[in-house]
Amino acid sequence: MKNWLNQHTLAIKLVMQRLKSHWLNTLTICLVIGITVTLPGLLFVGVDNLQDASRSIKQDAQMSAFLKPALNGNVIQRLINDVQELPQVKEVRFVSKEDAIKQLGEQFLQKDLLADLPQNPLPDALFITLADTNPITAKSVQDILQKRAEVEELVIDSVWMERLNSMLVLGKRIALIFASLLGIAMITVISNTVRMQVLTHEAEIEVSRLIGATHSFIRRPFLYMGSVYGLGGGLIAVGLLFAIVWNLKQPVQLLANNYQSNFQLVFHLVNIGGLILLASTLIGWIAAFIALTQKR
């Protein structure tokens, strides 16, 4: 066990010495890998943020029921009561057409919007918050409300939510394809670098083999080298992504505020950062393994 640990420690020390002695070369390779990893990393960060945003939207899954004109207050109240009693409904908020036009006027900084119009074109409306995000819940409430004579039009927010979800799935898939392609490029870069190192240390390999080095003893430093290149590149990529997100955070927040959203761009260091480090280190190891299995 002690010998095994010694051999691993020795291999790591050797790799670090070699990388340090050619630090500029090491830095260049890590930078190339880092930038290669950053590109799909950005896509993943984007998808991750959109997913976060969609989750917060899902929590407030809503349905809007626009009512027929000229309904009296009792009819509307009865409808509100009926909807409130539905187990699929969490909350019902009534907005009269007078309040709606007022809010619209405030949004457009025009206090008396109605003064310029012959009559209020907006209907009375019920804004219904559903109990859960299940599409079946939305469909059942929709079926009930469509049968009600008071309701003229129903707008179900879950339709665009489903579209957003589909887009997120597509985005994830594109990011994955992109990552796979760049992963292959990364394997090629690291593999060639490790192969060059193998050729440089050919004499040492030959001597080591002759005096009793095992296959794994000879391969170990090169496998560590590939992993260190991957890890180094991954660290650069995480740093770059962190800087990019930090740089974009404020403009994105300003943009979101304009749409009455409190959306914030975030970089999940543990999840995304950890995944990037793990994947890049693994790719480095695989690349070195490929370089070592190629026949000389």
């Binding site: 002759l210 005096i211 009793g212 003893f217």
Partner: protein, 225 residues
Amino acid sequence: MIAFNNVSMRYPNSAHLFRQVSFNIEKGDFVLITGQSGAGKSTLLKLMAGIEAPSGGHILINEQDISQLHQNAIPYLRRRFGLVFQDHKLLYDRNSFENVALPLSIQGITGEEAARRVRAALDKVGLLNKEKAMPITLSGGEQQRLAIARAVVSRPSIVIADEPTGGLDRVASLEIMQLLKAFNDVGVTVVIAMHDVAQVSTIAYRTLHIDQQTITAMPAQVGML
């Protein structure tokens, strides 16, 4: 200790180097393998160390048939040998100390224990004062002594040397042979391939002579300078 039983050897697309040869090397022997260039001296050493596999027959090291060994066991077999090559096979980007420490690190021996053993080996070959020197700065004789230090640092029971005095002058050659004899005197079996036995001075040795695909074992004799 080393037994060749009906061993034949031929490289692909070439004639036999030797056919069905048998001989024994006992523990503590000092053996010279002689023969003309291309006779197969180096190949014989490679067969002993498991670097090459015979075309036929059996090679036994300490009664273990090495031709039956799994490929993964070969490195462990080689650790029982100390190998010395004519071209030294030193690592020129590492200093003397690091060169000698290589077999130990292969076996996972590092730190104080390794340092102690490396210095002892360097001391035995008279290079303790040159442990920081790069091999390129050493003379041919010193480089070969460094190679011997590397061969003995892991305390092998057999030292195999392929033309260890090749390219060295008479004085340096004599030093190398005396050094190898010193290890033999403490019980290490030494097998040397060389074409010029005149370099063996007052050393008692056995000879295995390769000629015409056969090996002839000569009786023990004392070399004359």
